[in-house]
Amino acid sequence: MPSLGSDMEAGTLVQWLKHPGDAVKRGDIIAVVDTQKGAIEIEVFEEGVIESVQIKQGEKVPVGTVLAMIRGTGPERPRVPAATAPPSAPAREGPPTPAAVSAPQKRPHEEPSRLRVSPLARKLAADLGVDVTQVEGTGSGGAITREDVERAAAALKTSAAHKPSAPTARAGDMRAAIASAMARSKREIPHYYLSSTIDMSGSLAWLRAENEKRPVAERLLPVALLIKAVGLALREVPELNGYWIDGAFREGTGVHVGCAISLRGGGLVAPGLHDADRMDLGTLMRQLTDLVARARTGSLKSSDLADPTITVTNLGDQGAEAAFGIIYPPQVALVGFGKIAERPWVCSGKIEARPLLTATLSADHRATDGHRGGAFLAAVDRLLQAPEKL
């Protein structure tokens, strides 16, 4: 059971999508796991043939439990436990707490293996309290679609016997997971906080001109520039990019920017944009749009959540001027961006109205000092003054 963030202690294997005897390669989705963050598709990071599955559908197991064994394709390749986190991901700090291990195990109905349900439909069914084994599938090959689940949910509503609303339970689970990770962060990480005001006139003017040239589907939001600037600035201050594990800093193997995404109805996930420093702005924007859409429809993959090396939170749309965030352990830094708003700015001895942005850094004092944190924010500012080079 891969760790999909330090706030995850266990997961329920909802469905096996590959079975013993099936060949798998890196990137294949082999299972769907239900977590406090919703249904997540689990990818495999090995190539070979599935020899055995160790966990039954419906079983809830702690992070680190072997889910399946894969036999490598080459003669010298040993058997490896499958569905662990990718090699670059941080190991979860410490063993699962006794509470997590002894937590009451949910055991939904064992499903017939022929049942075909898309992850989206399955997630929706879980949210709406619909038992998928009782739903008639009308999709291709009898697959249960989102519409089938919605129909079944409507039928449930009209019957007097429907259960209390599941979304509330899901939101409660997610709040508990966030509370646990954030409390641990505040308990263990000696945070320091810095802020810097950035003049965004150059970036916004460039963005306006750029978006005029781009078709609707390829237009950029300011956040794409901000994330790219963070990615490039981390190359200059790499000690903010990585993890604090076992009393030492380990630099990330790439710049994977976790993007805090608020979910409709409450809650928050921070899936990663891999190699954000290397993407051009168009690619970055496309991947971010895709990530937000998948986060909000409950179809994230394990690789989205396994290895962000830093988190960016952009509260700008809600109108807050600055965001001083709590670091998501075992990461060592979090960058916050507030609203871009016209405010007074002194330029060549004159006061002018300029679109200004407050950028903040919350960082782990065990890994860095304010001097390096300041260098990072200065780099973000400098990079945003030359948007054409991002």
Partner: protein
């Protein structure tokens, strides 16, 4: 397309972005962002879906005209009349 048809499309697009919203509860003169808690990514998806569904080009400079239901319907009606003209 009549303004009523356009309004139906706008409401359909909005409720796909914010599925928990009852279209009947949307107030016509109040900004979508304020009453539906849309962020900039939601708004971009809103514009993109209107572009796809109605076939109208919406320059970024016109985005403020789409902030309310009344504004969006009036703007899109003027654009689709122009798009339909020979």
């Amino acid at each position: 397309m009549t303004p009523d048809d356009i309004k139906r499309v706008v409401l359909d697009v909005l409720t796909r972005i914010a599925p928990e919203v009852d279209p009947a509860s949307i107030q016509s003169g109040v900004s979508f962002r304020d009453q539906l808690d849309l962020d900039s990514m939601d708004f971009l998806n809103f514009v993109l879906a209107l572009h796809d569904r109605l076939g109208v080009d919406i320059p970024e400079g016109d985005y403020p005209r789409l902030y309310t239901l009344d504004g969006a319907v009036a703007y899109l009606a003027s654009k689709s009349v122009r798009a339909a003209a020979p």
